[in-house]
Symmetry: D2
Subunit: 335 residues, 4 copies
């Protein structure tokens, strides 16, 4: 309450809390009173108080998400997809082209990254593009190519789904559904992906807070789907020199707040291929459970995101550096 | 090109431009060369050059949107819905509750705002909420209430559509489809709304640049739908004292860049009811074609956004202030 | 406290509060306890608790500034400089070139803006420039030109001071000291300017919160200087299309929180001359007490900020529009 | 030029370029012309063109900084202070309390961090604090304590200087002058620190772009001082869960753009002690030349920044982790 609040104003607030079926706890101080409000989901009622006189500020104490929180589930979630585990001791590499552009380039990339130790193949078949005049992806044709690459290489497949009507279709081909940054708050899509039961990787919205991100995960989890992993992919800031600012603070922080695995995308998060490897190593040093990286046999000819794709020799050096790094991080910092 | 670029590197870039079917224009300067690239959609090929040596920077000169630009259409777009015109001389007021909560509160609000001069009734039936545990709207039941309010008051109706599968349903009841800030880059939804032919109000993504916003409008326009209006509703910044930062710079700037009408939402853009009227007046002074404002008979009891809703007496004062303001802005600043 | 906090942990926190000479107020709730901490400047001790186990979050309830707050002084501060009042009923125009470039252009501008109703002449003699290779201002020579323009036109003079050692010098020539955006947290400079007793206009740091801005004002006020006005000049956001994003939300909000006058700088806040007039009108409609605008006889030849300077005919139209606007805002929205 | 620009408009621009003593290079394209402007510091004249009709956009091609750039100096700058080298093969640890609070706590901390392998002692004697009511540092008394700690432990000393008048004083006691984030654009201070010849660590402004940061370094370098190191300390973003967002993208990027050493401050950059070690490791994995970390014998009793200070056992684990990490990064990613 404001320090000028009258007794009548304090009483009015206490009464309103009672009316809403919540419990007020009044604490009178030297120059102002504080009123605690206790009861399930109390913060959702804060607007009922916005126009009452004498209130200085309404502050939320409990976290608004539940199933995603470490308080609710103490132990790390480990997602198993065949023989691949995400969220356990191993750092998992997901690699492949930004878009599936054709069967040959995809097979060439898949074979190469598999040989270097990647476990999961990435590649977009449905691409949400800022301009309607840009390449929008091959659609189901691209999904089929991904499935064929899985058959040949044994890699698992992750690919993006952009609209609720496609969840069933994409689930038929992919091992992990990716929800992209522009769809993090596409709640109908989240609910549909949650209901599918399929593993889901939820990318952080490019201007979403960590709390909003965990609330979006809550949409997936509350449909009964426990196979949810999070992906930090860079946030929008004032800095124009990189495409986004990779928020590596978020990696150990989310691992404190939540039991869900955290993947990092340094390709999107920097937008410049020369920064991808340093940031990949940094992410793992900070406690990431995995990486998702764009790799292209000929980045100059890529139909999308060539500027941030690694060519094969650079990817190979990154895999070697990662192996040495994970060797010394056995006593991992985030645990 | 970098000032250290060799002649061979310059030649390689010129050759690549030719291979792509574009026209190179080489300009050799005192200490570096600049190569212009000319041809339809040339910027889409920029990634083909990202790995070529000797290039310092690739800069886009032409705007990436077309149908939304003033260059393409010089005269203001005026959208006519029955006897209401948006984008013409009049400043149009859209008002109503954040969510449709029930028929009585809706009718009471509709009658009140109509009597004060509002032309369009707002009210959410489908609500995209950050938390899965918040009130999600009444759905089709809410749409029916809006239609009933239109029948009684003559107000036109604007309401949000959140997923492609609902476009047909919402179009049956609403005069204007609203695309919300979280869906500005939900491209499947944009295409579906574009195809519907229905007037659409496209809210700016809370962290979208003006260019991305106009490109999202391009998705609607390129489906042949010309009845598109834009809505500035606040962007996300570092400032915690207000829910968002209303970007009033965007109002006259978008009116320079585009022929589409610009509406402003000071309720979302501030998040505090006491700031709504000053910002509404500011928006109109800056050249807005209309306002969309949350009004509630009893803001303290609102199920969503009560803190930013105007009560009836405050709304009435705003309407009176606006009338005096628009009276003196006949020679409007943005024109 | 966390909902898993033990009684011993709660007791430890209560004891620590007592040790620090503060008063604890324990409120035990359904599933967690809240402990209020009461006493002068209690929030400054929050770090004493950062490592105690069982604490979930420490939240500040009272505002950290005092002399700048409306709670401390209810009535608007009005600053009188000769016959000019800032913070009263009149909207004050401050106008002039970005930099003082020479005596002729300054006199020409001063005469023109005075004839149109401006009350205060702006012009930089000391310029903080991002690059060491840019024009840095004429220094004392420029101050003398400003004083001469005052003598001839009767305008008061505002100009920037950039370092504590220059406060005495600049005070000799200027009626108002300007603290620029890059120096908002240059505390030695603030203290020196506070001690001078001279009226001060404190520009908001380009990425400072409103709270930090009012705390910076507190540095001036706590030196006994009551003649402090605030200037919103645009904040840094992700939007590249304008130089800054003018935060007009801040205008009515600061007027709620503080008794100090609020000036707006639409030239810096937009960076594009075509947006200056619409934003000037918007600022006044939102409740600003004054404007500071860059005007140049020949913007194309300006040594700094030509792109955002108004030429004379545009300035004249703005003055006419403002006069009509202030005529109808007698019942001003912010009051 | 705009695609609607007339020949006369193109000619006017070409003529203006000539008048300014620069060289125009006209390139006529299919639907528009591009005019290159060549000559020293041409971009500084861009405002001379802002009001000429027919220009669509003015774009800078060359970088505005010079002495700080890799183009100007290809090899890494290595700064030698006695037997400590910054910018060479070794990762240098700077550690100590946020503020110098007293001689005992300082000596205790200095002895501890020296024994663990730190090379440089940090500690603030002059503290720029957001509130005038917060602890402002011990001043010269604090400097003397730092010098005494150096004498006893052999550590070099880094401490902040906040105003030009103190540069001489602080240089007498410190081995490295620190320019803090709030003073990155305090140009008088930069010039004075540049002139001192003393090694300087320039912290990035919390909302400064990388280009502005390198331009601020240019102020130091252009005074003839070559011993300049840069410090990334977190930028301000919309994310409220951490105090700042540590921009690790900046580490490898600045090392590409500049030859100056890059230090990272994970204490300021996160604001939470539990995140400091993961982010310290991440920074080094990304190519940082050193770290600056807050360490306090009893963080709960710190007078400033206790929440982000490491206690001794946590610091010791970090040093051990770092040693193993740097062991495997011999083939460092940024090179």
């Amino acid at each position: 309450m404001s320090h000028q609040a009258s007794t009548a104003q304090v009483d009015a607030v206490v009464e309103k809390i009672g009316e809403l079926g919540l419990t007020p706890e009044l604490s009178k101080g030297e120059d102002r009173s504080i009123i605690g409000v206790i009861g399930g989901n109390a913060y959702a009622y804060r607007e009922a108080f916005a126009h009452l006189p004498g209130i200085q500020e309404i502050v939320q104490i409990t976290k608004p998400y539940k199933l995603a929180s470490r308080e609710w589930k103490t132990r790390d979630t480990v997602i198993r997809i065949g023989d691949v585990s995400i969220g356990g001791d191993e750092v998992v590499m997901m690699a492949g082209p930004c878009s599936v552009e054709g069967v040959e380039m995809l097979m060439e990339t898949a074979r190469h990254v598999a040989a270097q130790g990647a476990k999961i193949l990435r590649g977009g078949a449905f691409k949400p593009r800022t301009s309607p005049y840009s390449f929008q992806g091959l659609g189901e044709e691209g999904l089929k190519m991904l499935a064929r690459a899985r058959e040949e290489t044994g890699l698992k497949v992750i690919t993006e789904v952009v609209t609720p009507g496609d969840v069933e279709l994409v689930s038929r081909y992919a091992d992990i559904l990716q929800i992209g940054t522009r769809n993090m708050q596409n709640y109908t899509l989240l609910q549909e992906a949650g209901r599918s039961g399929h593993p889901v990787m939820l990318k952080r919205g490019m201007s979403s807070t960590i709390e909003e991100w965990l609330l979006a995960a809550e949409y997936l989890l509350s449909q009964g789907n426990r196979n949810v992993m999070l992906c930090e992919r860079g946030i929008r800031t004032f800095e124009p020199a990189t495409r986004f600012t990779l928020d590596i603070n978020a990696v150990p922080l989310v691992r404190e707040l939540s039991h869900l695995p955290v993947i990092v995308d340094p390709s999107q998060g920097t937008g410049r291929w020369s920064l991808v490897s340093p940031l990949a190593l940094a992410s793992v040093a900070a406690g990431a459970n995995g990486l998702i990286v764009e790799v292209h046999p000929h980045p100059d000819d890529a139909l999308s995101d060539g500027a941030q794709s690694l060519d094969f020799p650079t990817f190979d050096r990154l895999m070697a550096d990662l192996q040495r790094l994970t060797g010394v991080l056995s006593a991992q910092p985030a645990n």
